[in-house]
Symmetry: C3
Subunit: 332 residues, 3 copies
């Protein structure tokens, strides 16, 4: 889509410096920008290269001045303005509504207006899908799954019995939602494991995004919950009974054991591991590969925790430094 | 299904205290129990809240007394009794037997009575599927796959050529079984890698359960084996030629490199990593994120190992304590 | 396929000692070899057991002598010769060319000669697939995907919009290629995350192999690249904008955050984690579970790095030794 800088400036609430009739057709990185492209810079030191790039205009922070060689959109948060400009220029892909002839949809399922059910999808009894939601090719919705409006499920997604998704949830290809939790009881007489009931549910709230091939288990007896706005990367595992708050960020390959509680606004790096019944309190940040033992509470708004067992990064770095020193002295 | 306490007491071999005609319709947690529900308590300190809950009856340990305000099922192992009560109240879902019209089944495949082949399944030459086994929607069984009786494969499972599964094996959605192992030979003349043959098999014994999106590779020349009763969580990787014993428990995101041997009854936490040709002996417990280097032997019944390289937890905790002390003194 | 030792010796460029008319029908391990099988030994200490095995002939290194009790193929690199013998005896499976009746292929897609499109595949607008490539059952190629010749995609693979694959690329079952990267901008006014544009591409070069259920994200604005000959194991995650060189080896469950650069010939063990914008220089080796912090540069041809943060293994082992000593002295 084509937009003038004037329209863009209004949409992203930026101050325009330069020719407001310039037409923008897309986004680009500074490195690869060409005519029609919009780029952005978050800090002053990259402004020069943005101005030298092939871009038609630049979104910059308040450090930029109106005398630049290209038109500028000056925004308080340039990266945010750039993201919004992107949505304005290219709204999310609209999938063709309709049910592909090869899809197998149970007659009891209720599909709202504008739903796109792609080829080879399977939708079982009593499923409900909200308006304009897309179910990607080869996905399977087991019985009683409820999905809200404007969701986008990629190809080959599997959703187990009774899982519920809110509105505007994005689920990437290969994700599994609502599978059985990992719960067994060992019979001491035989040493064999018997399955503990996994009959709870999985509830995913509005505006959640879930990365490719991630897995989220249903609760054992109650619900697993993923709070509004939480973003989950690829290959993440979330165990049964977890309660994940709102606006939580969980990077790739992180794993949460059963019954973990995560408060709003927590951030986790990649490959973090959290033991069962641990609690991560509001605003804590877990560095990549950090490990939280079972039943532990992690508390500290804005504090980064690192290592296994996870401890405040200041402490961890001190320990590493001491260790490095001792290692140098060591005589091995 | 509805059962009287009398019937339940007999089935789970518990001692009944109170009205044996009370009817139970389901299981619940103490928190959410309502009329008709059965709950359980493993230790005395939770008994009070169980008795105050909305449940119709309580499974408790031998610490409970017959004078309680609700009927009790007193069992030696309350959690085990609860799991069995669950099976009695709600036997595993029976899938509708039959082959869905959209499934593509090679004429040479042999499907026993009561097999449920769901929509969009693909079954290739010479596959054999045992009685009452369910093949979930969108799954693909490559040629010569052999699957036993009463198995349950979820949606979008992929099983490679010649893989064999025993009876009562549960495979969750998105699992890949029998894929090529990760084996290459570097040609020193070019620095390029050539594929080492991956022509072995994968044999999965009875009563194994495999979590969503896990992957198990076939052997290179011989077999990869998963022993009877072993339970594998989500997103686990098991490399080629591994030999996993019986009643092994492997939590989520754990990874075993090639040719690892795991004896019966080993327990692994989440995100454990084991190097190739390592051996984990009977009854050892690997704590979450622990790492076992290649060729290492881990030995010690009931001993917990932690850290990378994995060492007895007593030693590891001592080292952490010393390190924390030094870190405090450190002057950085 | 049946081959004489003479033919094999020529093909793998080995020196033949013994009866050149012996017929070989397959490969085996020493343990399970029977008549007609070829086995190999890389070092002298296993030669005896190879000669005592049921094999018809043995590939050995230059340590072997012509007076052995079985015919020998003496090669400079026995493992490499064995791998090549395997290809000679059993060329990669040829899938039946043709488009299965149940596949849904957009009329604008261009499929070259000899392409095998299996059951329940979905191929969308403007996809191009090169000669003799196989698309496994249940896979989905979104619009504008370009795939080269002689590729092999397993079952249930999902390839997002515009992803390109070179020739001879092997993609195992359940892999997701070209999914959105994990990029958001937090609106400080609301604390909510908005999606950063993920509109770049994913380019996979010739001779790459990707293990089951791995995920590789498209670039945010530019491309994610996987260089020629790189081998990726199961459940690996590669984030947006990564630039992976040629002949790189990445073992299972390793994860690369966004914008990581990996030079040619790097080797990574399993469960390695690399923070965003880190750079791994040519020939470095990252040991299993090693962690590279964001923006770090790892440099050192042939040097093994271990631990988190990753450091040269000599240093790491010294530190571990000192720590163990201190732990023993510690009084806890």
């Amino acid at each position: 889509m084509k937009r003038t800088l004037k329209e863009l400036a209004e949409y992203v609430e930026a101050r325009l410096a330069g020719d407001d009739s310039v037409e923008i057709t897309g986004l680009a990185s500074i490195r690869s920008a060409s005519s029609g492209d919009l780029v952005f810079v978050s800090d002053e030191k990259n402004l020069e290269s943005a101005l030298r790039s092939g871009a038609a205009a630049v979104i910059a922070g308040e450090f930029a001045t109106s005398t630049a060689s290209k038109p500028l959109l000056i925004a308080k948060h340039p990266r945010l303005a750039f993201a919004r400009a992107g949505r304005f220029l290219a709204p999310p892909h609209r999938y063709n509504p309709g049910i592909h002839a090869s899809a197998v949809v149970h007659p009891s399922a209720k599909l709202a207006d504008g739903v796109a059910v792609e080829a080879h999808v399977v939708i079982k009894e009593d499923v409900v899908v909200g308006a304009r939601t897309r179910i990607g090719a080869g996905s399977c919705l087991e019985a009683k799954v409820l999905i809200g409006e404007d969701c986008n499920l990629g190809a080959n997604v599997a959703v187990y019995l009774g899982t519920t998704l809110g509105n505007r949830v994005i689920v990437h290809a290969g994700v599994v939602l609502g599978s059985d939790g990992f719960g067994y009881v060992c019979d001491p007489a035989t040493g064999r494991y018997e399955k503990f009931p996994q009959i709870g549910t999985l509830q995913i709230e509005d505006d959640v995004e879930i990365g490719a091939n991630s897995t989220i288990d249903r609760g054992a007896l109650d619900a697993t919950r993923i709070g509004r706005g939480t973003k989950i990367d690829n290959l993440v595992h979330i165990g049964h009974n977890c309660d994940i708050g709102e606006d939580v960020v969980i990077a790739a390959q992180t794993g949460l054991s059963g019954s973990v509680t995560v408060a709003n606004g927590v951030i986790m790096g990649g490959q973090v591991g959290i033991g069962d019944h641990a609690r991560i309190e509001s605003g804590a940040i877990l560095g990549g590969q950090g490990g939280v033992p079972s039943n532990k509470i992690i508390r500290g708004k804005g504090i980064v925790f690192w290592g296994t067992p996870a401890r405040p990064i200041r402490q961890y770095l001190k320990e590493l430094a001491v260790l490095a020193q001792l290692g140098k002295k060591g005589n091995h």
